[in-house]
């Protein structure tokens, strides 16, 4: 079964954009606590550009939409999150090349994105980065509950809370060491919005 069409992929981007814009201040505040206070600004700018780009463009495949998003994020976000999200969406696009998006293919695309984030950022699970949330999503897609996407959202939410208890060892937050305790990782939070947006548009269960 196709779970994501070209149209839904475009909607996914729009749903992400809405969430980034709505939560811009929250993400920036999280980044002010343990980073440099630009994450919300970066995400809103990036996904606004993505939506501008894809709104005006005709696409033949989901892979093409994702590639367009990847290029735009890479070129418009900057910072740490720009290359990381750019790479994640690019790897998804590459994995879905010439394929329809069914459950299995989507799982492989997320695995590819996860590997891409790791390749670029060199982070492991539990280092208090966005990697944690993508890892959680990949885990979920490999599990048996894969029909109940609400459960994935809950797992992501739990992961975000887990980052609160972690000491950052990658990215800008790592300079603060123990002082990062008690703060949610901003990149994990923005990744959460990406998957929350996904669940809002994806065809599941049936």
């Amino acid at each position: 079964m196709i779970i994501l069409t070209v149209e839904q992929t475009k909607q996914w981007m729009q749903e992400i954009q809405k969430r980034m814009e709505a939560n811009k201040e929250q993400l920036t505040a999280l980044d002010q606590a343990i980073g440099d206070g630009d994450h919300g600004i970066n995400m809103a700018r990036g996904f606004n550009e993505v939506v501008n780009k894809i709104d005006d463009t005709e696409y033949d495949s989901v892979a093409d939409v994702l590639k367009s998003a990847a290029m735009t994020l890479t070129a418009k976000v900057g910072g740490a999150s720009g290359p990381l999200y750019g790479t994640a969406f690019l790897k998804m696009s590459m994995a879905l090349q010439d394929k329809e998006v069914n459950q299995q293919n989507f799982k492989e695309a997320i695995d590819a994105a996860l590997a891409g984030i790791k390749m670029r950022g060199n982070a492991e699970f539990g280092e208090k980065t966005m990697y944690d949330v993508w890892y959680q999503v990949a885990e979920f897609l490999a599990s048996e509950n894969v029909e109940d996407w609400e459960e994935m959202i809950e797992a992501c939410q739990a992961t975000i809370e887990d980052t609160r208890e972690m000491v950052a060892t990658k990215g800008r937050a790592s300079y603060l060491k123990e002082r990062t305790l008690g703060h949610v990782d901003p990149g994990s939070m923005s990744s959460f919005y990406i998957f929350e947006a996904l669940v809002a548009v994806i065809e599941v269960g049936n």
Binding site: D36, G37, P83, T169, S174
Partner: protein
């Protein structure tokens, strides 16, 4: 937040416009980019030097463009590394065929974006090398973490690499000189107050009247430790001890930089320099040359950093060579 701005989303664009309007004799902007390059780039027979990062660090990095220093500065959003395509444009604009050196400060974002640009350039057959500056001793140096940050010591890397490049050296030689500076430069900073990213509208942290942040970077972040405010001399002692504990400066000559973070009056920077000079003399370290002023800022943060570069004859020559960069005239 009180700033002299028009639109918080346009500050970088308008700043670039202002810089190019003011300095069109020496600097040009590559159309549709945030890349500033020497008016006469690419320079035949010379290795190209590209640096950059988020904006908010002025005079870094555009102020270091000029004969004897950088060929290009790539400008990101405030405190946000520029994107790979922008860095790639800079590389193309300054390559005369001799290759290009990227001077990168060690931040995850800067490193990733510049590396992606280098990959793009290599595909086009441009010879690109990179060095990563990590002079900040406030941060632990470890292979398991992100490692040290690059802060004000980067300016000395620009200067020496710029001088060597100007002399007609090869990319390998320029890179080696830059690496030598990096191996011998250490810095550490302190903040008395935070700064405000224009688009964020409020400052990253708040310090009480009797507090300071020790070990800050250059992006308005908190430091490694919040401690009670101390006298200028005590702060200098703290920073200098941590710097000199890191590499052996004994009996050596150093270039010193006392760098204001943006809002600290020059008066206070000289009060700092006074004690730096005294303590170095006590430690048997000779000051070869010094710079006191604003070189690598964090918007209107108040505070300063101290940088020591251990110099040998090559580095001395590099520091002494002519520079026409407007923020570092030699």
């Amino acid at each position: 937040m009180k700033k002299v701005v028009n639109n918080v989303d346009q500050v970088v664009e308008e700043m670039l416009d202002g810089i190019v309007t003011a300095h069109s004799d020496s600097i040009k902007r590559i159309d549709n980019t945030t890349v500033l390059v020497r008016q006469d780039a690419p320079i035949k027979g010379k290795v190209g030097l590209v640096s950059g990062g988020g904006s908010g660090h002025e005079p870094a990095h555009a102020g270091y463009i000029g004969q004897g220093m950088l060929d290009a500065a790539v400008v990101g959003e405030v405190f946000t590394s520029p994107t790979p395509d922008q860095v790639y444009e800079a590389i193309k604009a300054v390559d005369s065929g001799e290759g290009v050196l990227l001077i990168i400060k060690n931040y995850t974002g800067d490193v990733m974006n510049f590396e992606m640009a280098a990959e793009l350039a290599e595909v086009e057959g441009i010879n690109v090398e990179k060095v990563i500056v990590d002079d900040d001793v406030a941060v632990e140096d470890s292979t398991f973490t992100t490692g040290r940050r690059g802060i004000a010591g980067t300016v000395f890397v620009h200067k020496v690499a710029g001088a060597i490049a100007e002399s007609g050296a090869s990319l390998t030689e320029v890179r080696a000189a830059a690496e030598k500076v990096i191996a011998n430069v250490r810095s550490m900073g302190v903040a008395l107050s935070a700064c405000t990213v224009p688009a964020a509208g409020k400052s990253s942290f708040a310090l009480d009247d009797n507090e300071m942040e020790i070990g800050i970077g250059i992006h308005g972040e908190s430091g490694i430790e919040r401690v009670p405010l101390q006298s200028a001399d005590k702060i200098v002692e703290r920073l200098l001890n941590q710097i000199t504990a890191d590499i052996d400066y004994q009996d050596s000559e150093v270039a010193v930089m006392v760098n204001g973070m943006g809002a600290t009056p020059e008066m206070e920077l000289y009060i700092v320099y006074r004690h730096v000079a005294k303590l170095l003399a006590e430690k048997g370290i000779t000051i070869y040359n010094k710079w006191v002023g604003e070189y690598m800022t964090a918007l209107e943060m108040s505070g300063f950093s101290i940088t020591l570069l251990k110099v040998d004859d090559q580095l001395k020559d590099g520091l002494n060579a002519i520079s026409q960069a407007k923020a570092f005239r030699v």
